[in-house]
């Protein structure tokens, strides 16, 4: 009986240490969250012994968690602020931000629309309901049907931040669609419509607009020339080691993680 108990205890100990070694915690940006969830799913399928828990909470929470040492990996949809960099240094944390993808959002119209591009200011005015006719952008004399994502979508938040700016709201007359697919569908069927979608979702049923004269694609987005784009980060404490390194390498691998990034609508950084 004693023997069995001892064996059992040993097994428990082994199991718990194994468990502790392979547990990764990820926290932060809700923009990165859906991409991260897919990455984690795929990674855990390949490495069943690694347990990764992901939670949102926002970029600020993610950065705070990595500084406080309460998470192994932080997600952030923005650069670290000077204040945060300083705080990390004070606490002896070597915050190491890695760009895993670029969130580029493309304004899209029906392929039958003559308009080729718009400036950020024009896009803002369209979405505030100030510009209401395509002729003001050099198109046909037709009213503009403004299509937006739902106010709770991450794409909407990025649009709000990068195009609308603080204090400017998408006007209530805009048609709100609940998914990227619904936006494409609505624009593909309506030649007066304008909308926006993450780069990875845009397909041949719609036409992407140039923004400030720059076409949105992985090249211009990665070079920082395309206005409606922002890098998406993961942040580690120092160089990733051990199990965490395995996961980070998986994310940056063009054949696995970066492919998932593209499938989720963002621009991959490695090809």
């Amino acid at each position: 009986m004693k023997k069995i108990l001892a064996l059992f205890a040993a097994a428990m100990l082994l199991a718990s240490t194994a468990f502790a070694e392979t547990k990764i915690e990820v926290k932060g940006s809700t923009t990165v969250l859906p991409i991260m969830q897919k990455l984690v799913e795929a990674y855990m399928k390949k490495n069943p012994d690694v347990k990764i828990t992901v939670s949102g909470g926002g970029s600020g929470n993610g950065v705070k968690a990595i500084i406080d040492g309460t998470t192994d990996l932080a997600m952030s949809s923005r650069h670290m602020k000077d204040k945060e960099v300083k705080l990390a240094a004070d606490k002896g944390v070597k915050a190491n931000p890695i760009i895993i993808a670029i969130d580029a959002i493309i304004p899209i119209v029906n392929p039958a629309n003559k308009v080729k591009g718009a400036t950020i200011e024009q896009l803002r005015d369209i979405y505030m309901g100030k510009i209401t006719n395509w002729k003001e952008l050099g198109g046909d004399d037709e009213s503009i049907v403004v299509i937006s994502r739902d106010t709770s979508s991450g794409t909407y938040e990025a649009w709000q931040e990068l195009v609308m700016g603080k204090g400017n709201r998408v006007f209530p007359g805009a048609l709100l669609q609940a998914s990227s697919g619904a936006v494409l569908q609505a624009i593909g069927k309506n030649k007066k419509a304008i909308g926006y979608d993450g780069y990875g979702y845009v397909n041949e049923t719609v036409k992407g607009l140039e923004v400030n004269g720059v076409p949105g694609n992985p090249g211009t987005a990665a070079a920082g020339k395309y206005a409606i784009s922002r890098p998406l980060f993961i942040i580690t404490n120092g160089e990733p080691q051990g199990t965490l390194k395995g996961f980070v390498d998986f994310i940056m691998d063009p054949a696995t993680g970066q492919k998932i990034v593209a499938e989720e609508g963002a621009v991959p950084v490695k090809k």
């Binding site: 809700t30 949102g56 009213s143 049907v145 739902d150 106010t151 709770s152 979508s153 991450g154 909407y156 938040e157 709201r169 209530p172 007359g173 805009a174 048609l175 709100l176 669609q177 609940a178 619904a182 569908q185 609505a186 069927k189 309506n190 007066k192 419509a193």
Partner: protein, 297 residues
């Protein structure tokens, strides 16, 4: 030990009592949960601002939680779809119950019932891909995703309910009423509209209310074809954003137990109150126009 007759009876009675009570318990639990999760929003915004506010920007900073445009959209969509569905449903029921032959009825009835079995996502998809571009071209509109499109699609969904419940009501009109009417020299048409329909009014109004309840709570169709603009509609062809569509579209992205989350539950409360009112009205109407025997008409 064999059970006595009384024990068996009691046992069966208890089984039925439990099954009957279970739906009440389920409703009570749902209601309690709805109110627990919905009420906290009123710490952030007042009831008046919530119900009559004109702006729905739940994720902005500072947020606006005004659902008046959503309520108006729900009412408008339900009203217009009822205007389409009630005549269609009731007249189809009259045709099946009173006019056509048994053989034709045997064809029409299953088809109408099949319409009820169509998943709403299929109807929504049809509205989005076929009807929206058609409406847009025919009426030269800005968008085919609007109040009218949603109403037509919802009418499709409430016609089968209205039709089959009305048909049952028409069937149950006592035979001697019709025979008396015909014996007095009334035509078939006069009999239908002056005797049969008034006599089955109770059942028909229940049918109508059931159909409307279906329309006001239907989510998928309004999410797909109503357009989703949080504006108070001023024309039949305005895009609208009914309450169920807002809940469905936003719940997935609303942070758990955040203000937005509570606000969506509060919308659920408003919807619950709407259906409750519908049902009370239905009960009242069917009670008031109840046909008792053949002599009360």
């Amino acid at each position: 030990m064999a059970w006595s007759r009384k024990q068996k009876d009691d046992f069966i009675r208890n089984v039925f009592f439990v099954t009957a009570i279970s739906s009440i318990v389920a409703l009570a639990l749902i209601m309690i949960y709805l109110f627990i999760e919905g009420l906290p929003i009123f710490k952030v915004t007042s009831v008046t601002d919530f119900l009559f506010g004109n702006y729905w920007y739940p994720t902005d900073d500072p947020p606006d939680f005004g659902i008046f445009p959503l309520i108006m959209a729900s009412i408008a969509v339900t009203a217009v779809s009822s205007m389409i569905a009630i005549p269609l449903g009731v007249l189809t029921a009259v045709y099946m119950a009173e006019i056509t032959t048994r053989k034709v009825r045997g064809i029409i009835k299953p088809i109408v019932e099949l319409l009820a079995a169509l998943p709403s996502v299929v109807i929504g998809f049809f509205g989005m891909v076929i009807v929206a571009p058609f409406l847009q071209q025919t009426f030269d509109l800005n968008t085919g995703l609007n109040l009218f499109n949603a109403s037509i699609m919802l009418a499709f969904m409430s016609v089968p309910t209205i039709c089959s419940v009305s048909e049952d009501a028409i069937y149950s009109v006592p035979r001697e009423l019709k025979e008396a009417s015909l014996a007095l020299g009334a035509t078939h048409c006069q009999t239908i509209f002056r005797v049969v329909l008034p006599a089955s009014l109770s059942g028909i109004s229940t049918a109508v209310i059931l159909g409307m309840s279906r329309a006001i709570g239907e989510t998928m169709v309004v999410l797909m074809v109503a357009g989703g603009a949080a504006l108070i509609p001023t024309s039949l062809f305005d895009p609208v954003r009914p309450m169920p569509a807002s809940i469905a579209a936003e719940m997935a992205e609303a942070p758990f137990r955040g203000n937005h989350y509570h606000a969506l539950f509060a919308i659920g409360m408003v919807l619950f109150v709407f259906t409750l009112v519908f049902n009370i009205v239905a009960d009242y109407v069917s009670e008031k126009h109840k046909q008792v025997g053949a002599s009360t008409l």
